[in-house]
């Protein structure tokens, strides 16, 4: 019987993948539920196994299924998208971290190994910890959560810290609007994240790990929990991992609706059972992290990049990218975009290539006016900056940030003063309240923008707004208050007409 692949990714399910899968099964297909390829405008995307590769159909609505089956979908002869991996969207990408997402059954350990899984872990276990850290350092991998701190240096600090007890914590509190790569990886290829965390444990000498997943992601939580249970059963977690000296076990912890817990020290507080309030640094978590012990805290994508690096070598990874941004990044096209989804490609791709070539412009068909890069704390950029390369340093120089790689597109109907107001409103809602610039500044920011929009002492209030932004940037304890000025200032700078 032909194998037919239908995503179980929650984005695909949100537009009817479950119904399509059930109908295909009833029509006689052997349905395998996979992750999503990340071509989200084509979801539900159905793929059919043929001798030449997988042939794609999408978007397939439940009411399309009968017709497609009658036209020969189940043997791949019905007219459709052609071979999925030959689609331009896929061919133009370099999928390292996302290589298996959308391909494998996420909960099949056999599939994981059959598609190259655990090669990185085996390579790592054959090396002493310091050499594993060396490979990660040489690869140039930097933290994909947003801060871009070199992963190898963080690991070195934890390895060198003296402690009986160390932890590996994965930050899967992916709260930034416009980002969904962590979710898709956890739902589509959870064993790769487990593998990356196990490599980290070996590299730094940890025996225990936690994945902190936001409660807004119930599918990711269920998939990770099931994958961890399957990994334990296979001896990929627990005592003597893959027959080595390493013992490592992993636990899922669920957040409770607080954006701030994506900040690493808040996340640690939350894991310890407290209010998610940020800690002052130093001490850094690598030295005094979870329960005061040396702790690796990495984003999902950083940890999931590690198995590829160990399997293929640091040089192969470092070969990709530009400047000090090495390797690939998983960019996410979102908002008002015709072709939204996952683009994993080497750093250096321009913003315009992503939004226009991959994304196909807006979904509404109207002109693009602004894009916000890097989540709610990232800058709003105009089309005139579309030649900006996705590179940590180039973005920093432009007063923006790459962040977690989310790119939200807006058309020409957007009111940028309203978006600037929203940035403050969001900060006021989500501030942990520990430091005054963030807790009070966000509220004052909303009020000041309201006055500007109402035409009250506009010039004076724009000066006041700028002063407030400086204070929040310089005086806040963490990135929440410190970066909220970024969307605000970029909106004022690039879209001044909306504040007049």
């Amino acid at each position: 019987m032909t194998r037919v692949f239908v995503p179980r990714d929650s984005a695909a399910r949100s537009v009817g993948a479950d119904e399509v899968a059930a109908l295909l099964e009833r029509a006689g297909g052997e349905v395998v539920r996979t992750g999503s390829r990340g071509m989200l405008w084509l979801e539900p995307l159905v793929e059919v196994e043929t001798p030449d590769g997988r042939v794609g159909y999408g978007p397939v609505a439940p009411e399309d299924v009968d017709g497609l089956v009658a036209a020969g979908l189940l043997d791949g002869t019905a007219p459709g998208l052609g071979l999925v991996e030959e689609l331009e969207w896929m061919r133009r990408q370099q999928r390292l971290t996302f290589a298996r997402v959308g391909v494998v059954d996420p909960l099949s350990p056999d599939d994981h190994e059959a598609h190259g899984g655990n090669a990185g872990l085996r390579a790592a276990l054959a090396l002493p910890p310091a050499e594993v850290v060396g490979v990660v350092t040489e690869s140039g991998l930097r933290g994909r959560g947003g801060a871009g701190f070199p992963t190898g240096i963080k690991w070195r600090t934890v390895l060198d810290a003296e402690s009986e007890l160390k932890f590996v914590c994965c930050n899967a509190d992916e709260g930034d609007s416009g980002t969904f790569a962590d979710r898709m990886l956890m739902e589509g290829d959870p064993f790769t994240l487990i593998e990356g965390m196990t490599i980290a444990a070996h590299a730094v000498g940890a025996r225990e790990g936690y994945i902190y997943i936001r409660s807004e992601y119930p599918d990711a939580i269920a998939t990770m929990r099931a994958a961890i249970a399957a990994a334990r059963e296979r001896g990929w977690l627990g005592e003597r991992v893959l027959g080595s000296e390493l013992s490592f076990d992993l636990h899922v912890r669920v957040g409770a609706g607080a954006y701030i817990c994506g900040e690493e020290t808040s996340m640690l507080e939350s894991l310890e059972g407290r209010r998610g309030q940020v800690r002052a640094k130093p001490p850094i978590p690598a030295i005094q992290g979870l329960f005061g012990r040396p702790t690796v805290v990495n984003n999902v994508l950083s940890l999931a990049a590690v198995p590829w690096i160990l399997a293929h070598g640091a040089a192969a990874y470092a070969e990709l990218g530009v400047g000090r941004s090495r390797g690939t990044s998983v960019f996410q096209l979102a908002g008002n975009v015709a072709r939204g989804g996952i683009v994993e490609t080497a750093f250096g791709v321009t913003l315009g290539e992503l939004v226009n070539d991959f994304g196909g412009g807006t979904a509404s068909g109207r002109p693009v006016r602004a894009v916000q890069v890097g989540g709610p704390l990232g800058a709003y950029l105009p089309v005139s900056q579309f030649d900006l390369p996705l590179d940590y340093e180039a973005f920093a120089q432009a007063g923006a940030m790459v962040g977690h790689g989310g790119i939200v597109v807006f058309d020409d109907t957007v009111d940028m003063a309203a978006m600037a107001r929203f940035a403050f409103e969001f900060c006021a809602e989500e501030s942990c309240g520990k430091c005054t610039p963030c807790r009070i500044g966000a509220v004052r920011g909303v009020e000041t923008i309201d006055k500007i929009r109402a035409g009250q002492d506009r010039e004076k209030n724009l000066v006041l707004l700028d002063d407030l932004c400086t204070l929040m940037t310089d005086g806040s304890l963490c990135a929440m208050g410190g970066l909220t000025p970024m969307p605000v200032r970029s909106a004022v700078q690039h879209f001044a007409e909306d504040f007049r």
Partner: protein, 159 residues
């Protein structure tokens, strides 16, 4: 000195069961609270001293955690919880208009429950469905490209 132990309420029993299940984990407070809320739909005020006692914390510490996190409720929600994403990516696809529609249609504001107890409406900042907005979560189920007519249809479906 003798003390009279008052009879345990069902909520207290639930808290004790959660403590028995999660109490030995590291930093067990959030897992305990999630377990209680899953059973009872909220964290009733009278379980807080029980949890505090069980974890050797002060009542203030537990109360502080319960009130910090948006997920933890003090009263049970309606039979179905509907959360509309208000984050930037969904705003770019018309989330604000959907919010207005939903409030009008249900006759409630965010955080409120319809008088018949059927639906609690709330906002959420990002459901990770940012390429298929506006996104809405009904119970635990995610929905994409939710136009006002589709929203009405979702509410009309048996839940």
């Amino acid at each position: 000195m003798t003390s009279v132990t008052p009879p345990r309420t069902a909520a207290e029993e639930c808290a004790r069961a959660a403590l028995a299940e999660h109490g030995s984990e590291r930093g067990p407070l959030l897992p305990v609270l999630h377990a209680v809320q899953e059973k009872l739909g909220c964290i009733p005020r009278d379980v807080i001293p029980v949890i505090a006692d069980g974890l050797n914390l002060s009542i203030a510490e537990v109360h502080g955690v319960v009130t910090f996190y948006k997920d933890f409720r003090s009263t049970p929600p309606g039979r179905t919880t509907v959360r509309i994403c208000r984050a930037e990516a969904c705003q770019a696809r018309g989330a604000n208009a959907l919010v207005e529609h939903a409030k009008r249609q249900l006759g409630v504001e965010f955080g409120e429950t319809t008088p018949d107890g059927a639906v609690t409406l709330d906002e959420v900042f990002c459901l990770g469905n940012c390429a298929l907005g506006p996104a809405v979560q009904v119970g635990e189920r995610l929905h994409g490209r939710v136009t006002p007519p589709r929203f009405d249809a979702l509410l009309g479906e048996p839940r």
